[in-house]
Symmetry: C2
Subunit: 176 residues, 2 copies
């Protein structure tokens, strides 16, 4: 089982602008109609663990985009909206608790999403794979992908894919 | 003429550890004895502009490593050490002043080095090319490459080189 981060990030390490905006992600022309490895990635995972902020952002998209089970890490939200019953569960606890609950329910490969959630998993050294898609922009400010860590974490470069000669997507595996 | 940044950076955007250490840069095995594009890059540039911190770091290496003219941006240092006369000049001012002085002396393509210096040039939108070599480690803390910017800056991906299947070096050009 693996805990995997798949995320787009600006060259200066932001995942959203200061107002939470992610429109800049879609600025890149996509003449090949690439899905940037998304469907291949989603096939590999069994469930998602995301933070409340990310969940609430996804709700603004309108249609719920995930077919896989989604665990939302929240100690605030209580009742899953009726149209998302069976698709979303609210859980709480430390990253290890979240993994334990997902594992108990039979989910093995987990997609870890959302800045704060990712930072918590990295701080606990619970990220096995990091798939970073670098967008060629310096945002200058915003929500950072990475936070401070008590110790450095080494990774192994597995592969890099270039999409449309614009986006650079590198796959890293934790080197323990 | 171009102002070019060529720098190695951790996946979380640091160029040195909290104590200024850069040993982690040399952790990656290098069975091909690659110079990571260094000599090809150095051939393209006419002079370097670096900050005082970087200059003082380079002095600790022992032998002076640059054949090209080096401008050190400093308002503190005054007299160039005798063994570096003709190789190093101390200059001061805003990024545009530094460029003007280098240009006045006939230097066209400038290698901009050092965290604070790079941040100043980016804040003034005076970086034309950004060559980032991503080292597969999360340092967790240290000297950041990028600082805050008032406005976002778009770049164009030019190419990506992978060295030893470990280091990912992407070339970006400012898209104005």
């Amino acid at each position: 089982m693996s805990n995997i981060v798949y995320i787009a990030v600006s060259l200066d390490g932001y995942i959203a602008t200061t107002d939470g905006g992610i429109d800049w992600l879609h600025d890149a022309p996509n003449p090949t109609e690439s899905d940037y490895g998304w469907s291949e990635f989603i096939e590999r995972i069994d469930a998602l663990i995301m933070g409340r902020n990310t969940y609430e952002k996804v709700l603004t998209f309108g249609e719920w985009p995930y077919e896989k089970q989604v665990f939302v890490a929240t100690s605030v939200l209580e009742d899953v909206p009726s149209h998302l019953e069976g698709k979303v569960q609210f859980i709480k606890g430390q990253p290890s608790d979240l993994i334990a609950e997902a594992t108990r329910q039979g989910y093995q490969n987990l997609y870890i999403d959302g800045g704060i959630t990712i930072q918590g998993f990295l701080a606990a050294d619970l990220v096995d794979e990091l798939i970073l898609t670098h967008i060629p922009v310096l945002l200058g400010d915003g929500y950072p992908l990475f936070g401070k860590l008590a110790d450095s974490l080494k990774f192994r470069h597995a592969k890099t894919e270039i999409y449309n000669d614009i986006l650079v997507q590198s796959f890293y595996e934790r080197q323990r």
